[in-house]
Subunit: 213 residues, 2 copies
DNA sequence: TGTACATCAGTGAACGCGCGTTCACTGATGTAC
DNA sequence: TGTACATCAGTGAACGCGCGTTCACTGATGTAC
């Protein structure tokens, strides 16, 4: 007989096997349900089917877990934005629109990551890789802004850093005010994507990067 | 002797006298220190120097207190924005800049109100006056956008609702990413006010509401 | 002006609860020989 | 291929703590007469 192998619960016996990942999944689930504030270490352990002391084998404390979630979030965010921007192909302005839509779709489709990244109140230095991951995600926006700015004649070229901060703030503002499904959000008379796209077009026109319609 | 009158603690005896207000002050203090999530009913009572059961005479629960703080915040915000806009005087574009600066200065100077308003995750319907207060604050932005839009020739007049949503999102994005002093915020190579002002100028130029420099 | 009384706004003790954290422990796994 | 052993990743019981909430109560205040 072999009932000691392959026990039915999915758990492979005494050792969980992949608790670290399971805790991160738990955190994402719980943050999505109750926000980053409503998430507790004990809850995560329970969700993973493990005693309340077990998480301490993998994370120093609750904040370390959230910081890890946020770091991964920024890495995914970077990849997601990078894919949308696609090095400015096929054409920078269309790619820039894609980038904006990707920003919003990430906030909507991954609200738990987004919360951990921007609303958990983490110090960016609390985890060694966190600030770096955050900077790398922002760098995608910045490269895109540079590519667009480069198309203006040198003497009236807008500063790309400023452009990227503007676009970031605008996207984040739309995402956090209107972009997600939860209770506190405002209704909007149009899709968030359209609102952002219109703003970006107006903004780029204001920079002289695209002509009047 | 009269030691029963005017006891030294500031408390006027058994009755607090103004506990409702004191609890709101406490909430503001505590939210400013620890964010809306870190604020507890028991803390507020302690801060006000009152037993932990006393707040229930004035608020149904913790959320009711926060909702009241948020409602008041929106009322103050509305007044603050209204004062800055000043009916478009002396001149609509300058007044619009004032409005943007006022948005950021409120977020910076009243972080506790701002958090309660935008980051507490309250349902806007949780308090009867909350949505109304929020709408009235937004209406100031909207009126300002209308005044600016009205200066464009009729056939190319931008929709004022859209304009005001854009400005709101931009201001909120800058305020929440860069605008405040706490730990999670990013550093910025320029003052937040300048960043916003530049964006608004570019945006208005993109709408054709102001000419090229 | 004084008194009786209703109402109001507090007290303080108690409760159950869940959290974070520590601890000595033990079952499972991997590896050297 | 088997065995001994070190290491790892869990357990489960325990702790102190603070929170939210309820309750019967009581001191203070206001008002009718």
């Amino acid at each position: 007989m072999s009932w000691t192998r392959q026990p039915p619960g999915g758990r492979r016996g005494y050792h969980h096997g992949n608790l670290r990942e399971a805790l991160i999944d738990a955190a994402l689930d719980l943050i999505a349900q109750k926000g980053p504030a409503g998430f507790t270490f004990a809850d995560a352990a329970r969700w993973a089917g493990v005693s309340s002391a077990a998480p301490y084998r993998h994370f120093r404390d609750r904040d370390a877990l959230i910081a890890d979630v946020a770091r991964r979030g920024f890495e995914l965010f970077e990849a997601h934005l990078e894919r949308a921007w696609n090095d400015g192909r096929p054409e920078p302005f269309a790619a820039f629109e894609n980038l904006g839509r990707a920003y919003l779709s990430f906030a909507r489709d991954e609200p738990a990551y987004y919360s951990a990244m921007f609303e958990a109140g983490l110090a960016l230095d609390s985890d060694p890789g966190l600030r770096q991951a955050s900077d790398r995600a922002f760098a995608v926006l910045r490269r895109a802004a540079e590519a667009l700015a480069a198309r203006a004649p040198a003497e009236q070229r807008p500063p790309a850093l400023m452009m990227s901060l503007h676009i970031w703030a605008l996207s984040h503002g739309i995402a956090s005010l209107f972009g997600r499904g939860d209770a506190g959000r405002r209704a909007l008379p149009m899709p968030a994507e359209e609102l952002l796209e219109a703003a970006v077009l107006i903004y780029l026109r204001g920079l002289g990067l695209i002509g009047n319609r």
